[in-house]
Amino acid sequence: MRAGLRAALAVYAKDVRIEARTRETLGATLAFAFVAAFIFTFAFDPSPRTLAAVGPGIVWVAYIFTAMLGMNRTFLLEVERGTLDGLRLAPAPPEAIYFGKFFGLLTLLIVTEALLAPAFLVLYGLSLLNVWFAAVAAAATVGVAAVGTLLSAIAAHARAREALLPLLFIPLSLPLLIGAVSGTAAALDGEGWSGAGRWLQLILAFDAALIVVSSWAFAFVLEE
């Protein structure tokens, strides 16, 4: 258990260090996120009434597409540079590698989402400075990272991975997407515990189940 924790921390620290030195993935996801958020300006007439209806949807479509870009790269570097074999050979249980990668992806997504949030204020006047929104977003992002880490390990080895990852990720994360959009709408409407809280519970239950199943299934994906 302690050795596994240490291994997970080592994998996490490695990923953070790579990112801190190259800033490749964060740069790519942030640039993509801004474009994704910006394109909605032209998709509809941005009047306050329309925005109240579609605002949460805009936020989460931008977040989900950005997340897919980020998770695409989670295992890509490892496969391209052959370092995944090193991880396989490392004296660490597969779950430890899963959790190291999971926290790496989670950190990337949380940072991207936080940096993107002001863009919604500037472009659409949506203020996301809201405790309930933060809770819903954090919980949903945990689920996105849990499913995404597993699927990116599958997609990294596959041909046509850019097509395969969204096809697998969108239906499997649909409960999160529905919960996050509805929870965000409730949070922005000022419905705290009775509105956003209900969705938050659903998202947290999903997170718990999917972290358990994904970390268990990861061994079958990692295996050569």
């Binding site: 499913v147 699927l151 080895h157 041909r159 697998l168 969108i170 649909l174 529905i178 659903l202 999903f206």
Partner: protein, 248 residues
């Protein structure tokens, strides 16, 4: 390829380990297919001749005898695929992998049929092609997950890894089902547009009930026959692949 996964296929060193032709072993599958064909023909008679025409919806209501059994069979195919995937992951058995594969492939056909018959029925009755209630959302998501499983196999570097990854996707998919159903149910509860429809039709006439139950039996037998046939074909494909590799 692990040593484990090749244990129940032809060994390249001893081609005689499994006789190439075993007459008689697949006979039950042919009888099952014949039975399925006969049942479907009788079912067609019941649906179009025996069952009375529904008073409000008219002839289009006869889609009910296709749509409901097909959708339940689709869900059955998902359960079978998930269970076979789980057993395949636990035991690394080619036989269970071929069941998972066959169930997925036949399941895609059933899900597609369910979605199409649902749309054709919903249009005249509800005025829309598709309703995003809990069942509609779940059906659509499972259909996508099944297509994802097939694509995972197609894009995997080899069949063994493809089978393993598709099994992982199916198991993860099964884990999301309760959450998806709940989320879609709450979410569609926010948009209460639907008041009537096929779900709100009260009790069935006796002839209608008999037709429906017979239809259930016919489609389930058809599903089992198709899965058995496809799984056997899959095992033959595996055997051919092994021979080809041994010859190369």
């Amino acid at each position: 390829m692990t040593a484990n996964s090749t244990s129940n296929t032809i060994s390249p060193a001893r081609p005689s380990a499994r006789p190439p032709a075993r007459p008689g072993t697949g006979a039950w599958r042919q009888w099952l297919l014949l039975a399925a064909g006969a049942l479907v023909l009788i079912d067609l008679y019941l649906i179009f001749q025996y069952a009375p025409t529904e008073r409000v919806m008219g002839v289009v209501q006869r889609l009910f005898y296709f749509h409901v059994p097909v959708i339940l069979t689709s869900f059955l195919s998902f359960v079978l695929a998930a269970v076979a995937s789980l057993v395949h992951l636990a035991r690394r058995s080619r036989a269970w992998d071929s069941v998972a594969y066959a169930s997925t492939e036949v399941g895609v056909v059933f899900f597609t049929t369910a979605i199409l018959t649902g749309a054709v029925w919903a249009r005249p009755v509800w005025g829309v092609w598709w309703v995003w209630d809990a069942n509609g959302t779940l059906t659509f998501a499972l259909w996508l997950i099944f297509i994802g499983c097939l694509m995972t196999r197609a894009y995997a570097p080899d069949a063994e890894r493809g089978g393993r990854w598709a099994a992982v996707v199916a198991v993860i998919g099964a884990a999301t089902v309760p959450f998806l159903y709940m989320a879609a149910d709450w979410w569609s509860g926010l948009h209460p547009e639907r008041v009537t429809g096929p779900g709100a039709q009260g009790s069935l006439e006796r002839e209608m009930l008999i037709t429906l139950l017979f239809s259930f039996a016919a489609f389930i037998v058809l599903f089992v026959a198709l899965v058995a046939e496809r799984a056997a074909l899959r095992r033959d494909e595996d055997a051919v692949e092994e021979l080809r590799r041994a010859a190369a």
